[in-house]
């Protein structure tokens, strides 16, 4: 299974593709695709063209107990939750008054 993720242009915040051209910060709301779903490439191409989310990629995920969990990539866990040190949390779309999505 995969979800599509990237960084929102203005804030740089980590966002996930929710479906139907919607993006947001909650991994649990991300649209899940089969590993070989052909529309992933189409969505990535369309998002690249729209150019409001950058550093686009499809990342593997697993689902347990109706919750999304990341694969074993710590990088994605840190992207989803913020640094493991300090109390800074994540960058939030709402911190910028000018969300580009």
């Amino acid at each position: 299974m995969k979800v599509i993720t990237g960084n929102e242009l203005l804030s740089g915040a980590v966002v996930y593709f929710y479906g139907e051209d919607r993006w947001g910060m909650d991994l649990q709301q991300a649209q899940i695709f089969d590993d070989k779903a052909p529309e992933v490439d189409e969505i990535l191409a369309a998002a690249t063209k729209k150019d409001k989310v950058v550093s686009l990629e499809a990342i593997p995920v697993e689902k347990h107990d109706n919750q999304l969990v990341q694969t074993n990539r710590l990088r994605e866990q840190i992207r989803a939750n913020g640094p493991t040190v300090g109390t800074y949390g994540r960058q939030h779309l709402s911190e910028a008054d000018y969300v580009s999505l």
């Binding site: 203005l10 913020g82 493991t84 800074y88």
Partner: protein, 547 residues
């Protein structure tokens, strides 16, 4: 300190206006990300895991209080109330928003700062000894020459698109505190026949192929230095590999071509350039040097620190006196290292309040001067010994009085996977765990440089740690390779990998085993870890770690 002239000020203003326009065009959709990326990188703006990261240049690590107050203001106003001082003597902000960056650059320009050439395949910020102009062992203050190199290299049209980034470090003292032999070009002051010039080293570097620079010339006079540097850059620009970014640094060119042939080509190029427009007139060197003239030291400053009494009264202060003071050239004065490595904190981070307080200390006690060290600490370079206690007391109040300079908890660590898009593993928690584990014993170990990188790019300089820690990812797990025997000083060496990686929670245990060997086998308490390692070889350390 150098002050911008009209040209500098106009140049930085224009660049800020250009970038402001580029951001507007990007937001309006007139520039694609592919078009915008190289433009933002030329202005120090990266996109990391969580947000943009802005790297601000601190030329040769020198700041005044006004500039430090501005850095604090930016942290408070546009970021999350802190900044991260780096091994390139710069500062990074981890959370700026794209549309705030032009405003940040405008604010920086107000205090003669910018973010130009902190990224990209150009000549980066020149780094130097954090005690430049203050150190007791200095042959010459390297900052005037560093400033001249800055001016020569800023937007140099021929060298704005090099095969890869290019880093120059310079030291005016025989004891190398600037890691010059691990830079693309390293310069060390040299005295010959009563004249001071520069030993030139070329082809050093860290990253996936660590190399100690080779000496290409043992004496280049001041007036010829720019022509000689230009000759090296021309040879590199012509022959450096552009087909493979991992082989594009000058160290690979020097290694594959051989220093003799490189020297021959550089000398041929230099012969063309010598006595031309790049010749540095003595009057210009003198003019720039006036900006770095020694401050008006008090001739009658008391040359006493009563360390023994303090050791009885306040062991923490005694430790601070022992570790964080560096011998000054002027009797009655000292340089103070402000450690940004308080145990349990993030190496190199300072809050806006701490930055403001340090700026005030610089203004009140150090002729308005501050330095950033490549070891991610700050320095008050010119302090009266009689003022040390007052400074220490203020540092206690702001939580930066750790007397650990050069000890095991004074760790260089890159941001690692907590922030960096390139990293494979975390660095900061490893540094914190090591510092906590050994905080009570660190005096026993004496001088011990631990350096941690979260990937092979080696921003945490692990190759040159007496003990280095390199984070890698294997099957989704963070593992850490331990190296021993690295040294960034004039006795430069690259550490040896001892064996397979260990998990993060095993790193402090692994270090403890290495330190047990050192403590058991050192000749006496005065033999530093690195000397013991060189005498003993890696075998006993490897045996302790892996059996």
């Amino acid at each position: 300190m150098y002050r911008y002239d009209e040209f500098d000020a106009a140049f930085v203003r224009e660049r800020t206006a250009q970038f402001s326009d580029q951001v507007k065009r990007r937001v309006a959709g007139e520039l694609t990300e592919d078009q915008f990326r190289p433009l933002r990188l030329m202005n120090g703006l990266y996109l990391q895991l969580h947000a943009y990261m802005l790297r601000v240049a601190v030329p040769y690590g020198t700041l005044n209080s006004r500039q430090m107050h501005k850095l604090a203001h930016i942290a408070r106003t546009y970021d999350r109330g802190y900044g991260h001082f780096t091994t390139r003597q710069n500062i990074q902000y981890n959370w700026p928003k794209l549309q705030d960056v032009p405003k940040i650059l405008e604010e920086l320009a107000e205090v003669e700062m910018h973010a130009i050439q902190t990224s990209g395949n150009c000549i980066r910020n020149v780094t130097t000894d954090q005690f430049a102009g203050a150190a007791h062992d200095e042959i010459i203050d390297p900052r005037p020459v560093a400033e001249i190199i800055r001016q020569w290299s800023s937007l140099h049209p021929e060298f704005s698109f090099l095969p890869r980034k290019f880093k120059i470090a310079i030291t005016g003292a025989p004891q190398d505190r600037a890691a010059v032999k691990f830079h693309d070009i390293g310069l060390m002051a040299n005295e010959q026949g009563g004249q001071v010039g520069w030993r030139v080293f070329v082809g050093g570097g860290l990253g996936r192929t660590p190399m100690v620079a080779k000496e290409i010339n043992d004496f280049v006079p001041h007036e010829d230095l720019l022509a000689y540097l230009e000759a090296i850059l021309r040879v590199y620009n012509l022959h450096g590999r552009r087909d493979n970014k991992y082989k594009a640094r000058i160290k690979i060119l020097v290694h594959e071509t051989g220093i003799e042939q490189i020297r021959e080509e550089v000398e041929a190029e230099f012969a063309q350039l010598k006595d031309g427009v790049l010749t540095l007139p003595q009057e210009e060197l003198d003019r720039i040097s006036t900006y770095f003239a020694a401050p008006p030291f008090a001739a009658d400053a008391e040359d006493v620190l009563d360390a023994e009494r303090h050791a009885l009264e306040n062991p923490q202060y005694a430790k601070f006196l022992k570790r964080n003071l560096f011998k000054h050239r002027q009797p009655g004065y000292t340089s103070i290292t402000i450690s940004l490595k308080s145990v349990g904190e993030v190496p190199g981070d300072a809050t806006d309040e701490q930055m403001d307080a340090i700026a005030e200390l610089a203004r009140d006690y150090s002729f308005d001067e501050l330095r950033v060290s490549h070891e991610q600490n700050l320095v008050l370079p010119h302090v009266k010994k009689s003022d040390v206690r007052a400074i220490y007391d203020r540092l206690v109040e702001i939580g930066l009085a750790e007397g650990n300079a050069g000890l095991i908890s004074d760790i260089i660590a890159c941001p690692g996977l907590d922030y960096c898009a390139l990293a494979n593993a975390r660095s900061i928690p490893i540094a914190q765990d090591i510092a906590k584990r050994f905080a009570d014993r660190e005096n026993e170990f004496g001088e011990l440089k631990v350096k941690i990188s979260g990937c092979i790019n080696a921003c945490g300089h692990h190759h040159v740690g007496h003990i280095g820690v390199l984070g890698v990812e294997k099957k989704g797990t963070e593992l850490y390779q331990i190296t021993v025997g690295g040294d960034a000083t004039e006795h430069a060496s690259v550490g040896n990998i001892l064996g397979r990686g260990v998990t993060g929670d095993q790193v402090p245990d692994a270090l403890e085993k290495l330190l047990d060997v050192y403590m058991a086998k050192r000749e006496n308490a005065d033999e530093p870890f690195i000397d013991a390692f060189r005498r003993l070889g890696e075998a006993p350390f490897k045996e302790a770690l892996y059996g």
